[in-house]
């Protein structure tokens, strides 16, 4: 098929340029392990790498600035932060709560580069918005990670078991998935958030995670259905491997691309879901705060104090955008069909080189 599709005008006698061109991709990955190839492709995606750096910066900033404070099943984890205020403190309001952050240097006509006492401003009663937004960012990140872990685990196991055993196990598990998929996430989140929202972000995340695995389960099942027919699975079975070993050691590592890519998309969706729930009043409850809740509380103050509205929104978008870009980079990296497309100039150069070599040989 391949020599039908690209018939070389002059068949190159020994290897030749055309062959090397076709094998550009193969040559590049010669002698590399699968994970090395994936890593290499991922780091070639500039958007994904930039997103990873930005996300790391946001995570470090959010967790170090105000310190974290989470209750996990009654165990309180608390660390101090380097920022002078916390999200519950109420300092006196200065200059109408206007933000003190300034990034325009003095020689450009600005106020000079400074951070100030309240870089993101203050709300009506004087709370420092930087501290509040950092706390909200923490919540979003915790929710994202916990939802990602729980939903991925459940989805992968259910999908793999259904796909591997087929028959009635598959039928029951997939009908169960259908039942859960029927309930819109915002509905289940609102109903359960109303019941569990006051228990904190961590519990809320677990609840969300328990209902967001459905899409992943379907994808993993489809992948496992085709993987289980491959020879290496037969080989493992002949060698006496147990079902559990076949599923976890032989099949799932081959489905890792699907799992990782969908986990990232799921995490981005989880952030938006949590902020939406908090906005509707079913998510994180007072006195704690979250990015969606800040926007919900201050949406009427947009005309007078727009910074109450801009900063939480910017952080939601920044986190979700970073995750989405990382997901895109991972998709490219894991896609075996992906090829590096040479640009027009490189193609023209290759064509010229081919003509030259043909002329030399003639």
């Amino acid at each position: 098929m391949s020599n039908l599709s690209t018939p070389p005008p002059v068949p190159p006698p020994t290897g030749g340029v055309t062959d090397a061109e076709n094998n550009l991709e193969n040559k590049e990955v010669e002698g590399l392990s699968q994970s090395q190839i994936v890593r290499r492709r991922f780091f070639r995606h500039k958007g994904a790498v930039a997103s990873m750096v930005s996300l790391a910066f946001i995570v470090v900033l959010a967790f170090s600035a105000v310190g974290f404070d989470f209750a996990v099943f009654g165990v309180q984890i608390k660390t101090p932060g380097w920022w002078q205020w916390t999200w519950t403190e109420i300092p006196t309001a200065q200059s109408g709560g206007r933000p003190t952050l300034s990034l325009v240097p003095q020689w450009m006509g600005g106020d000079g580069v400074r951070f100030g006492d309240h870089p993101f401003g203050q709300d009506e009663i004087g709370r420092d918005i930087f501290a509040v937004v950092m706390r909200g960012t923490q919540q979003s990140i915790v929710i994202m990670v916990v939802v990602g872990l729980i939903a991925t685990t459940i989805g992968t196991v259910i999908g793999a078991v259904a796909g591997y055993y087929r028959g009635w196990v598959d039928a029951i598990l997939m009908r169960f998935t259908d039942v859960i998929i029927t309930i819109p996430l915002i509905v289940i989140g609102a109903v359960l958030g109303l019941a569990f929202g006051n228990l904190g972000a961590f519990v809320l995340a677990i609840i969300i995670g328990l209902f967001t695995w459905t899409g992943l389960a379907r994808l993993v099942r489809a992948d496992v259905l085709s993987l289980r027919e491959r020879e290496f699975v037969d080989a493992a079975r002949v060698a006496g491997a147990t079902d559990r070993r076949i599923i976890f050691k032989h099949i799932l590592p081959n489905a890792i691309g699907v799992i990782i890519v969908n986990t990232t998309l799921l995490m981005a969706a989880a952030i938006l879901l949590e902020t939406a729930l908090s906005f509707l009043g079913y998510g994180v409850q007072s006195p704690d705060t979250s990015l969606g809740k800040i926007i919900s509380e201050n949406q009427s103050a947009f005309a007078t104090r727009p910074w109450l509205f801009w900063w939480p929104g910017v952080f939601i978008i920044a986190i979700a955008l970073c995750i989405n870009f990382i997901g895109d980079g991972l998709r490219d990296a894991f896609d075996p069909r992906q090829k590096r497309i040479p640009n027009a100039r490189a193609l023209a150069k290759a064509a010229a080189a081919r003509d030259n070599s043909a002329a030399v040989q003639a």
């Binding site: 599709s5 039942v179 109303l194 509707l280």
Partner: protein, 507 residues
């Protein structure tokens, strides 16, 4: 096929049954419907509690109460609210309101998403492609409530301010907008650098002169297309659809389309100053639209010659667009009266609600009122769902364009237009059709937040109020409609896929 459909229907029925059971118990778990009464200190407190317990069967535990609810449901009764109102009536009103909100948004998002997705796929790795990719990622990451507040602030309040005193576009705005239009068109239309430069100049010039003319005729106060605008749109769509569907070489198609556009233009004055006064109901307008399509098909059939199908399509599309332009012009004619009326007071773009209370007027005024109220929520919904359609249609078309039969089509010497429109586009639509079917099932439930921000009393409000007042029956009615639609359209998506793609066998 029939066996498959029946099997799926039965399975879907049980899935819905299980989902409602689960949901019913979760709702019961989320709060106590008697809470507000228990906290009250009314003298007849016990009596109130007893009557509500009786009304909602609260003396039965939730898992069993579900079957009482189900029994009533089978007889078509969604139950009553805690205040004793029938949920059936509430549901009917809410469903109508939500459908009005989401229908236009979904249709526009699908059409826009398809067009942008296809153009990006055809111009893969161009600046346009990268820009759209970035923008769709951005839209993916936008929280809809945040967008909604921004739209309220900048589009509604900003645009109303602009309209209030002598609306004139500034020179800077015209310049920037024209440059952007030039960049857009030159990156979409293919060709050499020189041709791109020419495209750029034409686009900049056309946009700038159009905006200047709009300024000169005070278009933003007294908008309208007039017969000139309708003529440009009608004749332009005649040429455009012919070029797209059959190619301009097909003279029969071109003449048929031009005939239909000419018919529309001939009817312009009789319609605007005669017929339109007799149109008082929406179904009349819909009937006219159907009649226009019929006339288009008829003209195509008469003039089509040997190959009638494509000619009929071209003529029908042209007729529809021309008639649409005439109707749009008719709506614009009442804009000035509407905007300056006592209820609107020159600030037409509404931020809240679904209609202006106490507004009375013809169908055309009513239409403008619906438009001003739908504008913001529709924009918010489009921004969010447009990204998905763009990505899917781009990926789908790219996948098809790499197939062997596309290479075969090119190799046998077909024009690029034929390859894209006839061979690639149709096959790329197959996976998109299933996604669209799936999405339509989800739209009724997906607008909860949009409805809240823009103050629509639709399905979202039914759900939210029910949940806030721990009132189980409205919540369940909402869920039943949303879940039922999701399951139904899931089934439709599968069937559509099986019908469109001969490689899929349902048995």
């Amino acid at each position: 096929m029939a066996a498959f459909v029946i099997r799926r229907l039965i399975a879907s029925f049980f899935v819905l049954l299980a989902a409602t059971f689960l949901m019913y118990n979760l709702v019961a778990l989320s709060g106590d419907p008697l809470e507000d009464l228990r906290a009250s200190n009314a003298p007849n407190k016990q009596q109130l509690i007893d009557s509500r317990t009786d009304l909602l069967n609260l003396d039965v535990i939730a898992p069993l109460r579900y079957f009482l609810w189900l029994g009533a449901l089978i007889q078509g009764d969604f139950g009553v609210t805690t205040q004793g109102r029938s949920v059936n009536a509430l549901l009917e009103q809410a469903l109508g309101s939500t459908l009005q909100l989401v229908t236009i948004a979904t249709v526009v998002a699908i059409i826009l998403g398809l067009i942008v997705g296809i153009t990006t796929a055809l111009r893969q790795y161009s600046g346009y492609d990268y820009t759209v990719t970035f923008i769709s990622f951005l839209f993916f990451s936008l929280p809809i409530f945040w967008v909604a507040v921004l739209l309220k602030q900048f589009v509604a309040i900003g645009f109303n301010d602009f309209l209030e005193d002598d609306p004139q576009l500034s020179l800077a705005f015209i310049a920037i907008f024209s440059l952007l239009a030039g960049l857009l068109w030159s990156s979409i239309i293919p060709g050499s650098t020189k041709r791109k430069a020419v495209t750029f100049m034409i686009a900049v010039g056309a946009t700038a002169s159009m905006l200047t003319i709009m300024n000169l005729v005070d278009w933003f106060s007294v908008p309208g297309l007039t017969i000139i605008g309708v003529a440009i749109i009608g004749l332009g769509s005649a040429v455009g659809f012919t070029a797209l569907i059959t190619g301009l070489k097909n003279r029969r198609a071109l003449y048929a389309a031009l005939t239909v556009a000419g018919l529309g233009l001939a009817l312009y004055f009789p319609f605007q100053f005669g017929i339109s006064f007799y149109i008082t109901e929406w179904w009349m307008l819909a009937a006219l639209a159907l009649a226009t399509i019929g006339v288009g098909l008829g003209v195509g059939w008469l003039m089509g010659g040997a190959d009638k199908g494509p000619v009929m399509r071209v003529a029908a599309f042209t007729g529809f667009i021309t008639a649409g332009a005439i109707a749009l012009d008719r709506f614009m004619m009442v804009w000035d009266d509407y905007a300056t009326s006592g209820l609107i007071r020159g600030r037409p773009i509404a931020t809240i609600g679904s209609s202006t209370p106490n507004l009375e007027g013809s169908l055309w005024v009513e239409g403008v009122d619906i438009y001003t109220h739908l504008l913001l929520p529709t924009m918010a919904l489009i921004l969010i769902s447009f990204a998905t359609y763009t990505r899917y249609s781009r990926a789908s078309l790219l996948e098809v364009m790499n197939q062997d039969y596309i290479r075969t089509a090119r190799a046998k010497g077909l024009a690029e237009r034929t390859v894209v429109v006839r061979h690639a586009f149709r096959n790329a639509l197959i996976p998109i059709a299933t996604i669209v079917a799936f999405d339509i099932g989800g739209i009724v439930g997906g607008a909860v937040i949009t409805e809240r921000v823009f103050g629509w009393t639709g399905m979202g409000a039914l759900f939210q109020n029910g949940l806030d007042n721990t009132d189980p029956n409205p919540v369940m009615a909402f869920f039943l409609v949303v879940g039922g639609l999701a399951i139904l359209f899931n089934l439709i998506a599968d069937l559509v896929y099986a019908a469109l793609d001969p490689r899929i066998r349902v048995n």
